[in-house]
Symmetry: C2
Subunit: 308 residues, 2 copies
């Protein structure tokens, strides 16, 4: 799957992933109204609105990008009804040929991480059958519990030829509170990064490892250091656009081969119709606004990479 | 809710929480067989087996304990069908008067944590209505992303009078890999613990804070230090029993008032019928075996606390 992802990035010239993180407030009024009139003001109604929204956006952008990254929290907030739509979204994106990165940030003690890994990337045995739960292609993983919390994910990745992205340095303002603390003269995120590189060695695709890293676009100097520390990790970069990360900052996350990173934008794409310069599309054509925002994002990053 | 939890612990003399973490392999064969014959070898069948198992155990133990702690991973491994049973379990435990600690270990950047907090502890707005998703009473939270990842949970706790337990020092063998690393001479878990105490000050119940901590039973010396560092945090202690933690080690997690900690056992209770001295109950009476195991656990911990 890591080879497929790298191949698709190269073929499309698009080291870009779109975050399908639909807040209900991003969904145009006419879509919400239609769903709520059908299902009432219920969790089912809210989930349906999000599903209709996702479907339209995916239909408008699937040919431009290698992958999508649904943030499961945005579905989980609507309970079981939301998670049904998460599943529906994963399946639909697969139908459209997209790679799906489940942004689930799971991580627990060994046996529990094994259950998460089975449910999101692998299979569970039920009687004589092996069945799949959510079936994403990649998942994000929290490293706070150490190796025995991460290893079950790696084991499943090896078996399924799927991948994970481990949180190394996150994009949020207070990520430094613990992640930047110095341990023997080096910040914690570097120690985690070193561990990601070591875990990754055990689980290599052709050029990149099944074990990637999350490093926020909002900390480019740290991204530069981490790029060197984890040369074979594909870096998933959140924080571009709405969170403040700029294309010229992102070049440091890439290797000399022009690969090695995939940049996420969520709000900037899926809620593009709400902001200049895409407001002209109007709420009725929110999908086309998203398409234009994706095209612009690919150009923006491509331009910065050419100037590297 | 923290006052209610402390009150129930005192009234029952049971600083004990049962982890409803049902691996399919814990469920007696006759239960699995019945569910799979009804639903086939499907995720629905597996989820039904787990539901029947949970229900019987809850029916047998609900009067002995203040709270249960379902580990959501064990449900999530069966995808949406598993999560339906998670929801059913939360609701059923509420019906039986139990407090529910959702062991979800969520944590993300601000807006995403807000979605998790809404879905598990709070409400989401749909049209003119405010609706609840999973509706647990407490949730466990991962602190790796820092304050802005935790604050949305605290905000919801304040509004809903619910609570969280933040991972400080986990019970697994490799928890030390990052958590024990020295930062300015003190391990990371102490820095996190100090932050838990500070967060907790902003959100106090009568004697204990809405913001508690997870500290594994397998590291009693660290538990002792953390007890002092976070005097007003209720400590959720996993790792007793099957993972190796002993009652005499647990006394350090309690305050002088005999309160301040709640000890979890999962496998040791729910799969009690599989092991001595409870095997005599037989697989048919697995619920009674669990009941006896709870009674013994309460006595074991009570005895150790008396000797403190």
């Amino acid at each position: 799957m890591i080879n497929l992802l790298c191949g698709k990035i190269k073929k499309l010239g698009a080291p870009v992933v779109v975050g399908l993180d639909p807040m209900l407030s991003y969904v145009p009024e006419h879509v919400v109204k239609k769903s709520l009139s059908e299902y009432g003001e219920t969790l089912e109604g809210a989930a349906d609105a999000i599903w209709q929204f996702n479907k339209e956006i995916v239909d408008c952008i699937y040919d431009l990008i290698p992958a999508v990254k649904p943030q499961i929290a945005m579905y989980e907030q609507f309970g079981v009804e939301g998670l049904k739509v998460y599943q529906k979204t994963v399946d639909y994106c697969h139908e459209k040929g997209l790679i799906v990165i489940g942004d689930v940030k799971r991580g627990d003690i060994g046996s529990t991480s094994a259950a998460y890994a089975a449910g999101h990337l692998g299979k569970v045995q039920v009687g004589s059958k092996f069945l799949r739960g959510f079936n994403e292609d990649f998942a994000t993983v929290n490293p706070y519990l150490g190796t025995d919390g991460v290893k079950p994910f790696i084991d499943v990745c090896r078996e399924e030829k799927k991948g994970i992205f481990i949180l190394v340095k996150t994009s949020n303002p207070s990520s430094g509170e613990f992640q930047d603390r110095l341990i023997s003269g080096r910040p914690l995120y570097e120690w985690v990064g070193e561990q990601v590189a070591a875990w990754g060695e055990t689980c290599m695709g052709d050029a990149y490892s099944y074990v990637g890293a999350v490093v926020g676009a909002t900390y480019p100097e740290m991204g530069k250091a981490l790029r060197k520390l984890m040369p074979k990790a594909l870096i998933l970069v959140p924080g571009y656009g709405a969170q403040g990360g700029k294309a010229e900052d992102l070049v440091h996350y890439f290797n000399e081969d022009g690969l090695g990173a995939i940049v996420n934008s969520s709000r900037g794409i899926i809620a593009a119709y709400k902001k200049e310069p895409y407001a002209k599309f109007g709420a009725e054509h929110f999908g086309e606004a998203s398409r234009q925002a994706v095209i612009d994002m690919i150009q923006d990053i491509g331009g910065a990479l050419k100037g590297k």
